[in-house]
């Protein structure tokens, strides 16, 4: 059994006991433990089940590379699935459960997959669930989805806070092992601004476990001196518990700081995502030990040799009384020595090499440990945990020579430098024959904005596996024994989490998969949450061997961020709830909320759609608002309307280029409706332009269009006509704008008092400055409803007061606020177009019968050349007309006018479509506008629209003005 040793444990505090639970079972650990260490200390070797075969799974590693020990951490709203026990710091009250089993970890029904595993080879899903076709969607997929996935997703909103922060530095060092610390110090000495990130809570990396001294000093002495030195410097920032997980263009690095994972509920943000911009990035990310492929290498108790060492030295945890070491390199001998030093038994070291005479093997022999060279594990004995190993010759086919009883196996198949960060932005790798690993190629690094190397690897990440600089040789040992038959190969695990075995990769190869990328997807090798940190190189090597190629020829897979999984809360940061996105509010927003407005998004603005009264549906409210506006008085918050000032000696010339009509001739004091097109000729915006003075115009844009049109103006002024003397300013938010609409509109303004708004003083399409209700006001006599109408702009900081004054004074005049839907209906009743309804980016003004707003005299305007293209000038274009259904019903949104015959896809041919369709409360029937082939020439004709229900509805083609054709209502 695995237990806590009575002595040692450099990271634990034995005076601070911590209680936690695993699958409801109460356990004890110490402050400083990782969850994995504490589980092992409580003899919890079995921690989960594998994904496909539901095989028993134990802790394999001691860091983020761990494939097996994934738990559901926490409960309720704080439940987090797939948390790695090896990187989870223990805290008092921690609750966790194991994953991927039913009904229990010890007795799991899904393990039946294990017994039929020979019928579930690589590509099983692809081969089996293809036929019959309809079964995939309705039968196979739901079942597979239910059994897929490891942890459980929480069902409640996350109660924790997350945030992000920006940081800048000259040198970013990722990884605070000895190599990283040295680089950080050197850069700091050179006066550079340094940030040092370390994913674990402590500095030093592997050195305290693997080394006795650094630079002639005892390792702990060296480390504390270094830590104190760096901490004292103003130009160095050290962040522990922070994983630099992704490198992006131009020195951009994302890092995830686990601020309060180990102190849940203390009010601090749980995670903080750092967005770091570094001049230079140093990846001191170390190396990850590789497993060896032998039969039964997935049985709980088989662990990486370095992990066994970590548990013994850092946490005083014994994996078992007897641990057999199996290796192809010297580093695993350190594990044997560490176990011995802790008073534990190492029955044998099995070294696949023919000879092992380095300092460490010699030390092991001197310590009395039995070292067997040229040996391999034929198979591991045990099911839910290791009971022993059978030994064979590495050179042979697995004939058992001896069996050794043991509780744990510590394996080392060599080391893979962590080259992920070097590779994220395209750094290229070299295959190093000496250590049998991919190392970064310093000649082909990822490049920075100035063409210099953006990422540099140091220490083990660069392939320098020995801190003292002693050359290390690691011979390739990919399968153990080398001549293992299929019976053994089908029990050699490459990917523990996704259950990919040596035999699966070989099968993929036999079935024609020669690319590592395809093999990966076919077998799911390296596609689990650990992203193949342990399995990729071993799998690649098996593939290369099977294909009879060299490893570099088969290639490696692409490393992509994130290096380790990042919780979505950190990526979202502050963008949740009320501040998920910026909602733009007008100065009258609070009043609308108080009035019970139902809001709709218009871009990022929130505008009242309608103001329902108690008991009213939205539709009823809208109809009431329309009728009241037409009969009495309506008030609309029009503040969102874009307002752009254009001024200068060349402003008129500029606006004549921007609009299809002529604005330069507009007299001061008057308004004119204008259309803007893009260079292709398509309509992009419309609005009323007012001439303010000799060289100043004010352009109104659509509500969603202010920023876009302002940018459009600046683009032309800065990049094309930069010698024209024109300035623009977007003053949209300077004004609160209220549309006062209806027969009583003038009366209201007269009640508010302060300026003459009579027919004579302020005729239609004029504007005037003055005072209303004691406020400075600019009044535009314009109408988007067909009623007598004024749009009044007041300074935004008086907007709420002005709205209140209108509402108050309007009571006696039957005033009611109305929303955007009533606005839409009233404009449709009058046949006014709406950008985004009648236009969709493929419509030119001529399609909409707006030729009157296009100057024939101007030599040029934006879009003129585009509109001259033959297909836009064609008489066969769909053009705007009105429609009224014969039965008075409302044509469905998006309905098409059907034509004779069907197209190549068997769909009905079409000859037009509806663009705006409403029930008109004024006319008490459905009204619509739409585009119809040869439309204006077909007045009176009856056409058919398709409906959602599948039938058709007949409608008569007519002109677009349904209400007050002669404009008598607005000209009073």
């Amino acid at each position: 059994m695995s237990t806590r040793l009575t002595r040692g444990g450099r990271l634990i505090d034995r005076t601070a006991a911590v209680e936690f639970s695993f699958n409801g079972k109460r356990m004890r650990g110490f402050h400083g433990d990782t969850l994995a260490a504490a589980l092992l200390a409580n003899d919890q070797m079995l921690v989960g089940r594998s994904f496909k075969y539901h095989r028993p799974r134990g802790i394999v590693a001691s860091g983020p590379e761990e494939p097996n020990a994934l738990v559901n951490l926490g409960s309720g709203a704080r439940l987090e699935p797939n948390q790695r026990a090896t990187t989870t710091e223990l805290f008092d009250g921690l609750e966790c459960t194991s994953q991927n089993h039913w009904p229990s970890l010890e007795f799991d029904v899904g393990v039946v997959n294990n017994h039929v595993s020979r019928f579930l080879p690589a590509g099983f899903y692809y081969k089996t669930f293809i036929h019959p076709r309809p079964f995939w969607k309705h039968v196979f997929e739901p079942i597979i989805r239910r059994s897929a996935g490891l942890g459980k997703a929480p069902t409640q909103p996350d109660p924790d806070r997350y945030e992000q922060a920006y940081a800048f530095c000259d040198v970013l060092v990722i990884g605070a092992g000895v190599a990283g610390l040295k680089v950080a110090k050197a850069a700091a000495d050179a006066g550079q601004r340094v940030i040092l990130l370390e994913q674990s809570p402590t500095l030093g990396g592997r050195a305290p476990v693997d080394q006795t001294e650094v630079d002639g000093q005892p390792v702990e002495t060296w480390l504390s001196a270094m830590e104190a030195d760096l901490a004292a410097r103003d130009n160095v920032t050290i962040r522990t518990r922070t994983c630099g997980f992704g490198v992006y263009d131009h020195g951009y690095v994302l890092a995830d700081e686990r601020v309060a994972d180990h102190t849940p509920g203390d009010g601090r943000p749980k995670h903080r995502l750092w967005r770091i911009r570094a001049g230079r990035i140093v990846s001191a990310t170390g190396a990850i030990e590789r497993p060896l492929s032998f039969a039964g290498n997935d049985i709980p108790g088989v662990m990486l040799a370095s992990a066994v060492r970590d548990y013994v030295v850092n946490y005083a945890v014994s994996p078992g009384d007897r641990t057999v070491i199996v290796t192809n390199n010297d580093s695993a001998y350190q594990t044997a020595l560490a176990l011995k030093a802790a008073g534990l038994d190492v029955p044998a070291i099995l070294d696949a090499r023919e000879a092992a005479d380095g300092a460490l093997p010699q030390a092991a022999r001197a310590a009395g440990i039995r070292v067997l060279t040229g040996k391999a594990i034929a198979r591991v004995k045990g099911t839910k945990r290791v009971t022993g190993v059978a030994i064979c010759a590495q050179a042979g086919e697995g004939a058992v020579q001896e069996e050794i009883a043991c509780e744990a196996v510590a394996m080392s198949g060599g080391w893979s430098p962590v080259v992920h960060l070097f590779s994220h932005c395209g750094g290229k790798l070299l295959w190093d024959e000496t250590i049998s690993a991919f190392i970064p190629d310093p000649a082909r690094p990822p490049l920075n904005h100035d063409g210099s190397a953006m990422v540099e690897c140091v220490g083990a990440a660069a392939g320098d596996l020995d801190l003292t600089g002693t050359p290390v040789a690691i011979p390739p040992v990919w399968v153990m024994p080398q001549g293992a038959p299929i019976q053994l190969r089908s029990k050699m695990w490459l990917d523990y989490q996704n259950d990919v075995k040596v035999s699966d990769v070989e099968l993929a190869s036999r079935e024609g998969y020669v690319s590592v990328e395809h093999t990966k997807r076919y077998t799911t090798l390296g596609m689990a949450t650990d992203q193949g940190k342990l399995s990729n190189i071993n799998g690649l090597s098996v593939l290369a061997e099977t294909l009879g190629q060299e490893i570099p020829q088969v290639g490696t897979t692409t490393f992509r961020p994130p290096y380790t999984p990042v919780t979505i809360g950190a990526l979202a940061g502050e963008a949740r709830g009320e501040i998920f996105q910026p909602l733009r509010k007008t100065p009258m927003h609070a009043a609308h909320e108080k009035a019970g407005a139902y809001f709709e998004p218009v871009g990022l603005w929130r505008r009242p759609y309608c103001f329902p009264r108690p008991g009213e549906t939205h539709e009823q409210a809208v109809h009431r608002e329309v009728l009241n506006t037409r009969q009495n008085l309506g008030l609309l918050d029009a503040s969102t309307l874009g307002k752009i000032i254009v001024k200068g000696p060349d402003a008129g010339k500029f606006l004549d280029m921007l609009y299809t009509g002529v604005m330069s001739t507009l007299p001061v004091g008057k308004c004119r409706y204008g259309l803007m097109c893009n260079e292709q000729g398509f309509l992009i915006d419309d609005g009323v332009v007012a001439r303010i003075d000799e060289d100043t115009w004010l352009c109104h844009t659509t509500s969603g269009g202010a920023d876009r049109i302002h940018a459009w103006m600046e683009d032309w002024l800065q990049c094309e006509w930069w010698d024209w003397q024109v300035y623009t300013a977007n003053v949209t938010e300077q004004y609160a704008q209220v549309a006062v609409v209806g027969p009583n509109a003038r009366k209201l303004l007269q009640v508010l008092g302060g300026m003459d708004v009579s027919k004579e003083a302020l005729p239609f399409m004029h504007w005037a400055d003055g005072t209303l209700a004691g406020l400075p006001a600019r009044v535009y006599r314009i109408s988007f409803s067909g009623e007598l109408s004024y749009e009044i702009a007041v300074p935004a900081s008086h907007g709420a007061a002005f709205w209140a004054a209108c509402t108050q004074a309007g009571k006696a005049l039957g005033a009611m606020p109305y929303g955007t839907e009533a606005l839409h209906i009233m404009r449709a009743e009058k046949g006014f177009i709406m950008i985004g309804d009648e236009t969709d980016g493929t419509v030119i003004p001529q399609d909409l019968g707006l030729d009157w707003a296009i100057s024939k005299k101007k030599a040029d305007y934006l879009g003129k050349r585009g509109q001259e293209r033959t297909f836009l000038a064609s008489p066969d274009r769909w053009k705007l007309v009105g429609f009224e259904t014969l039965d008075g019903s409302v044509i469905p949104d998006g309905a098409y006018v059907i034509a004779e015959g069907v197209n190549a896809n068997g769909q009905r041919n079409t000859q037009g479509r509806v663009t705006s369709t409403y029930y008109s409360p004024t006319l008490k029937r459905g009204i619509a506008m739409g585009l119809l082939k040869h439309g204006p020439a077909r007045m009176g004709e009856v056409v058919e629209f398709n409906t959602v229900a599948g039938g058709t509805v007949k409608a008569r083609v007519r002109d677009t003005v349904f209400y007050d054709k002669d404009g008598e209502k607005q000209n009073v």
Binding site: D249, H449, D450, E679, E714, Q718, C719, R865
Partner: protein, 106 residues
């Protein structure tokens, strides 16, 4: 994520502070131009693998449009310059040639 220095305000802006404006130095063709000229102006974009000239707007900064010369393959930036020119200035060309001797200006 790119960083480009705005030549107007000197800020080393990151990509999120900028808006892309696609290919630079297009010549506008208006009324009277041939279909071929208009097509070239509207639609025929270069999309090279290598040296490219682009328009960017410092949207969250000074609001000005500027031009950038960069390598679309390595993302190396050779330089940025104000938009009020119809072709890349000589110093930018020199900077590109210093880094890409085989490149030929049009």
């Amino acid at each position: 994520m790119l960083i480009l220095e705005c030549p107007y305000c000197g800020v080393k802006a990151e990509e999120t502070e900028l808006s892309p404006g696609y290919e630079a130095h297009l010549k506008r063709f208006g009324p009277g131009s041939s279909p071929e000229e208009f097509e070239a102006y509207m639609f025929a974009r270069k999309n090279p693998k290598g040296v490219h000239f682009e328009r960017w707007r410092h949207t969250y900064g000074c609001g000005k449009w500027f031009l950038a010369a960069r390598c679309t393959a390595t993302l190396e930036v050779f330089g940025t310059y104000p938009a009020q020119v119809s072709e890349p200035p000589a110093d930018i060309i020199a900077k590109i040639l210093a880094r890409r001797p085989d490149w030929k200006p049009e």
